[in-house]
């Protein structure tokens, strides 16, 4: 290659020797510190290959002398977190349910822990905000099948309802129609009577006296004489405005005909006692707790 470089007259700097249609380029080299930094960066990068995971192989990758992995980092951080939580949860486990709600710091801890665990375990049925769905109670309101005090809520979480656990809440709404205890016409009549208990309109020609009689004969043992329900056996209050499955005539007829037996699993054994405690406080603090 012939050397076309020359000294530019105006600036006194050498040109690179390149010529583009008469336009020449001054050779203005980079400063030394810049070059040194540049090469240092390259050396640094090579160091990375040695120290950290870098190159993909046929199966796996070069793991580097440090055997660093971000997954292991996460595991360490998670176990640290568990340790920190563990210490805090000890205080929660030692305090009584009522004391937890009175202490703002413990309440905040229980609510935070409860909310997280609720999202993981309870939300599939009760919804992420515990608003419930048809057949799954809304935990924000003040209507409780098995009781809404802190202790009662905790008991329900621990052992569930019809869960198979020896200490579970156990009861059944009989399938009055399917079992042949009541005839279809009687079911319609008592369904209308139940609607009348909470001031809902009844269908035309409905016999209130007959309805009352059927109710007394079949229902009062669980739901009570006035239909106020009984939390001992998980029998809902039929006089209020909250209906787990629905308050329309057809749904009530369906309930009486086929019975109802919603299941809630027992959480004892799956969740540790202080977590269950936190969850009881969380559910209680949603607003409906008694």
């Amino acid at each position: 290659m012939t050397d076309h470089s020359e000294i530019d007259k105006h600036s006194g700097t050498a040109t690179t020797g390149h010529d583009w249609d008469g336009i020449k380029e001054l050779n203005t080299p980079l400063p030394r510190w810049w070059i040194i930094t540049f090469y240092a960066c390259i050396v640094w990068a090579v160091g990375y290959w040695v120290v950290y995971p870098a190159w993909p192989l046929l199966s796996g990758y070069t793991s580097g002398v440090l055997h660093y992995s971000s997954r292991a980092d996460v595991a360490v951080e998670l176990s640290n977190l568990e340790k920190i939580r563990g210490e805090k949860m000890v205080t929660l486990g030692a305090a009584s349910l009522a004391d937890i709600e009175k202490d703002p710091a413990l309440l905040a801890l229980a609510r935070a822990r409860g909310k997280a665990v609720f999202g993981d375990n309870c939300a599939p049925c009760h919804g992420s905000g515990a608003a419930g769905a048809k057949g799954y109670p809304n935990l924000n309101d003040d209507d409780w099948l098995w009781g809404g005090s802190l202790e009662q809520i905790m008991q329900t979480i621990e052992f569930g309802a019809r869960s198979g656990h020896p200490k579970t809440h156990e009861s059944a709404m009989l399938a009055f129609g399917k079992e042949g205890i009541l005839k279809s016409a009687e079911i319609v009549t008592v369904a209308n009577y139940v609607r009348s208990l909470s001031d809902l309109p009844t269908s035309q020609g409905y016999d209130a006296v007959a309805g009352r009689k059927i109710f007394v004969d079949n229902c009062v043992s669980c739901h009570g004489d006035a239909g106020n329900g009984n939390q001992e056996v998980g029998a809902p209050n039929l006089t209020d405005k909250i209906w787990l499955y629905g308050s329309d005539e057809a749904t009530i007829i369906e309930t009486i005909t086929n019975g109802r037996a919603g299941v809630m699993p027992a959480w004892t054994g799956r969740l540790d006692p202080s977590t269950i405690k936190a969850m009881a406080v969380y559910v209680h603090s949603l607003g409906g707790g008694q």
Binding site: D3, S5, A14, T16, G17, N27, T28, P29, L30, P31, R32, W33, W34, I35, E101, K102, P104, L107, A108, R111, G127, S128, G129, A130, A131, N138, N140, D141, D142, D143, N237, D240, K241, I242, S285, L286, G287, G288
Partner: protein, 486 residues
């Protein structure tokens, strides 16, 4: 440092691949601008090194340091001001004012920031002073560096002394930095007994290294190659701004006193400049101001002092180099009178913006509330029907107490008629007006339940106002949200 030829010949074309750093040996100088620079250096460094030790009484339990960045507790203290993380926008205002002030400086007097106030300039100036003190002035240093090869004990001692003093200053700079983040006297004690937190040593190390390298070695390279500000300033200055300028209207050509007389006798024109190169010798970035305004010129004014000294000696008018602009050089050449326009649309707008943003910040600071409430409506479920048909909404309420003492707060709501309010976990003796104690200098989160009776005929959504009142001081804060029916 040896700045001679390169060890490896990386010559691919013709020149070397990189330009060799030309070491600058600024000569000592005295005069008006040197005095201003000494004064500003003493002031800036004094503030930086001593401010953490200034105390400010904020009462028991609160930090007593006037300026403190308390990262663990996320608080910033500046004398009577205490800022919380959510008030970071004050810093936005501060940055806007700072930027406008820089713009204003530029439109009035060019790179005042670069020449007098920039930390790079201040510390480099200090390091040069040390170098001069230990190794001697320009000529001596050049001679000693050129001698290079033969290492003498005395020279070795000088170099060691210089770097030791530099490192000491650098270390002190890093040390002062960490004092802004901790209680200064406590940390000084801890540092002296090697009991300070690791992070403090790391930061001192980092800032010692940056100070030592930037002020001791990089120097003018930072301004020329690394800093974006010179490029921005070139766009900010205008024809009316006065800059350090060689007044070429005082005549060309430049030649020595003796030669000038000879040339004059021959009838040639000769300028005031005697080409003594003093302006170049004192320049901390090693440029020649006579080539006009340029990137490398930080406008420190030292060449003005150097030139004035020479002009005085030879009995010519001073300020051959001075703060001036092209407009006036040309006017003088044309025989017209000088005009300097300090008040121009640009400077007026900058001043107005500084006043507006500064005023706004001051207003916001003086009228900011020390009791605050934020409300967040439950999203899921938005409303809950209770067994008696009444409707309940739940809210997460966050209360802020920015005062240094505990306060008793009452919560009221203005919303749907006959609505009742309850705070989870609080059995208030005052029915429908829950009261709670707010800890000093902290926030508290509450769960608030608002219930309306079933006979209320409400819109789908109606406004509800949460009012919190400090029972003792009568201070009130409020927030508005909505009450929703299912």
């Amino acid at each position: 440092m040896n700045q001679t030829a390169l060890p490896i010949d990386m010559d691919l074309d013709d020149g070397p691949l990189y330009v060799a750093h030309k070491k600058v040996y600024p000569q000592s100088v005295s005069g008006t601008f040197r005095r201003i620079k000494w004064g500003l250096m003493a002031f800036c460094l004094g503030v930086y090194y001593l401010l953490p030790f200034v105390r400010w009484n904020r009462g028991l339990g609160a930090p007593s340091q006037a300026v403190l960045v308390d990262i663990p507790n996320s608080r910033f203290y500046f004398f009577f001001i205490e800022l919380w993380p959510q008030e970071v926008y004050y810093f936005t205002g501060l940055l806007i004012v700072a930027a406008m002030t820089l713009f204003l400086m530029n439109s009035v007097g060019g790179r005042i920031w670069c020449g007098y106030l920039c930390p790079q300039t201040v510390w480099t100036d200090l390091f040069y002073a040390v170098e001069r003190l230990v190794e001697g002035d320009r000529r001596e240093r050049m001679r000693k560096d050129a001698a290079g090869g033969t290492v003498k004990l005395r020279r070795l001692g000088e170099i060691t002394l210089k770097h030791s003093i530099w490192l000491l200053i650098a270390w002190w700079t890093g040390g002062a930095w960490v004092l802004y983040f901790n209680d200064a006297p406590t940390l000084v004690k801890q540092l002296a007994t090697f009991q300070a937190p690791m992070l403090a040593y790391i930061w001192i190390g980092i800032l010692t290294a940056t100070t030592y390298v930037l002020a001791g070695f990089m120097r003018e390279q930072v301004c020329v190659y690394m800093c974006p500000w010179p490029r921005i300033q070139a766009a900010l200055t205008d024809e009316w701004a006065v800059n350090v300028t060689y007044k070429y209207d005082r005549g060309e050509q430049r030649t020595s006193l003796k030669k000038a007389n000879d040339l004059r006798a021959l009838g040639e024109t000769v300028g005031d400049c005697i080409d003594c190169n003093q302006c170049v010798a004192v320049c901390p970035t090693g440029i020649d101001i006579r080539n006009g305004a340029q990137l490398g010129c930080i406008q420190c004014g030292l060449c003005i002092d150097a030139c004035d000294t020479v002009m005085k000696k030879i009995g010519r008018e001073p300020r051959l180099i001075g703060y001036d602009n092209d407009i006036n050089i040309q006017r003088r050449q044309a025989g017209k009178s000088e005009i300097y326009r300090l008040i121009r649309p640009r400077t007026v707008v900058y001043c107005a913006m500084i006043a507006a943003v500064g005023g706004l910040m001051l207003y916001a600071l003086l009228t900011r509330t020390l009791l605050d409430v934020n409300v967040l409506h439950d999203r899921n479920p938005v409303a809950v029907k209770l067994s008696d048909g009444s409707v309940r909404n739940a809210y997460t309420v966050r209360l802020l107490n920015k005062r240094g003492f505990d306060r008793v707060i009452a919560i009221d709501i203005d919303g749907p008629p006959n609505a009742t309010v309850h705070v989870v976990g609080v059995d208030s003796i005052t029915r429908d007006r829950p009261m709670i104690v707010l800890g000093r200098d902290q926030t508290t989160e509450l769960r608030l339940l608002v219930t309306t009776p079933s006979d209320n005929k409400l819109e789908k959504s109606s406004p509800v106002k949460f009012r919190v009142t400090d029972i003792g001081l009568g201070e009130v804060a409020s927030a508005t949200d909505n009450f929703v029916t299912p």
